[in-house]
């Protein structure tokens, strides 16, 4: 299997996306380090035959992240793959933006990524190999109209991924990013008064296959980027949204059923 004997660290594993990622990597033979996972998830992942380390790191400092790496090394050995899966959405516009949301959104979705990238990057460099995958969002490109700080943080991560790709590339590490879009429930999360992107009831209409994406499908993309098959993919943004972002107002595709 692709990840036999490898250790994969999934951050923010207590989310639906985190769970799908953990189960996918476990199914392909990996051992898992899970950030703040529930007891249920740990059990499910162990049932797939993986060894699991549930961690609650302090990612506000390099020292906190280093302590996490040391803990993993002692329990499972080196980290082969880092999946930065932090995606906390707080709905806010600029006009009503509070200082707290500014700080917390940048911290949860970008600063922790910077701290982890640096510490785990240095750790991977010692072994001259490793993969970093940022599970990001199409909102690193397309504005939401509903969660300005989320988009800004995704813009930051977009550039962090590219910096990581060129900085840690010589040390045998590849860093890539998934621009996730239009997963079931996103329309409730991002519905906006300024943008029809997530107009309620229409999200799936925008996707050429007329069906939202699943967390499992995203996990599959992450597994590809984390695998040996992606050794020559570095600093890339892979949009995984079923073509959602390409929609321009009409449905006229091949095989379309015309409304009576």
């Amino acid at each position: 299997m692709r990840f036999d004997g490898k250790t994969v660290y999934v951050t923010q594993a207590d989310t639906e996306q985190g769970e799908a990622l953990a189960l996918r990597f476990a199914q392909e033979g990996a051992n898992l380090v899970l950030g703040d996972a529930s007891g249920d998830l740990v059990k499910k992942v162990e049932e797939k035959g993986a060894r699991v380390l549930n961690v609650h790191p302090d990612l506000s400092t390099f020292e906190g992240a280093q302590a996490l790496v040391d803990e993993v090394k002692a329990a499972l050995g080196r980290i082969d793959v880092l999946i930065y899966n932090n995606n906390t959405v707080v709905r806010t516009g600029l006009e009503n933006l509070s200082r707290d949301v500014f700080e917390s959104q940048l911290n949860d979705n970008a600063r922790t990524g910077f701290v982890l990238t640096r510490v785990v990057g240095d750790h991977m460099a010692e072994y001259h190999s490793g993969k970093i995958v940022y599970v990001s969002s199409i909102h690193a490109d397309k504005p939401t109209g509903s969660a300005v700080m989320y988009s800004i943080a995704k813009g930051c991560i977009n550039m962090l991924c590219k910096e990581t790709a060129i900085f840690y590339g010589p040390a045998g590490i590849q860093a890539n990013l998934i621009e996730v879009g239009a997963i079931k429930g996103d329309d409730e999360k991002f519905v906006s008064e300024f943008s029809p992107l997530y107009a309620m009831g229409y999200m799936e209409e925008r996707i050429p296959r007329r069906k939202a994406g699943t967390n499992e499908e995203i996990a599959g993309v992450a597994a590809f980027l984390a695998s040996e098959d992606a050794n020559f993919v570095n600093g890339a943004s892979l949009r995984a949204d079923g073509g959602f972002e390409l929609f321009y107002g009409f449905r006229a595709g091949k095989g379309e059923k015309v409304d009576e």
């Binding site: 400092t61 390099f62 516009g93 600029l94 006009e95 933006l97 200082r99 500014f102 940048l106 970008a110 600063r111 910077f114 701290v115 990238t117 640096r118 990057g121 240095d122 909102h139 690193a140 397309k142 504005p143 939401t144 109209g145 300005v148 988009s151 800004i152 943080a153 995704k154 813009g155 930051c156 991560i157 977009n158 550039m159 962090l160 590219k162 910096e163 990581t164 790709a165 060129i166 900085f167 840690y168 300024f194 943008s195 600093g235």
Partner: protein, 263 residues
Amino acid sequence: MNKAFDMTGKVFIVTGSGKGIGKGIVRCFVKSGAKCCINCNSNAAMAQEALKEIQAIGGPDCAFVYQADVSDFEQAKAMVEATYERYGRIDGLVNNAALQKQYPLDEYSLEDYDLLMHVNLGGYINMMRATLPYLKETRGSITCISSVHGKRPTHFDPVYAMTKGGMHMLMREAAIEFAKYGVRVNMVMPAGVKIEFKTGNPKPFTQPRFQAPREYFTKYSLYPLGRLGLPDDDGWACVYLASDEAEHITGTCLRADGGCVLL
């Protein structure tokens, strides 16, 4: 006076304009007939020199200096109020005040990370929020100075690039959120610009780790047009984006880099 774009009677705030790109932006607005608030934070003496230079172009009342740290919302707000009190209206904001530190990824301190996020992103947001009430009255514009490093990584300052990447999304979100007020939000993206000096930096590009491949820069120019950018290159881009001629332009990014990112 250059009246390609007539800005007579209009008022602009340009952050970080005591020197460098910001000063060039003020120069272009004043040459077009506008009045400007020159903002500086660390170097008041240099901003006073800039003021003299600008007044020589537009007369004694065409500009004034206001010292404020834009990463502090209260100071940003006080500057905007002072500009309104002085000139009676505000037609546009140019967000330009930003820092760069030039450390590689594994040498960056979190103190510097936080500083850059608070100035480069927080400062831009503070100024947008403080200015918006006045821009609603004039259906004015906001222009953010970004960098080619909002698209292309740097190697020499990963956090700078992160803030510029965030800025791109800030500009796009603001463009759709403020559109209902007729307030347009755009961006100018320079590459290297020839300026007096930058503050807050260690010795730029002198670290032994920042090595270009042999003959790389001697054999090829970084810029197809054959020279570094000048502050006025970005200044005229800002004047255009703030002008009535650009009234249907919002959420866009005007790259003024001499073709740099094409190479």
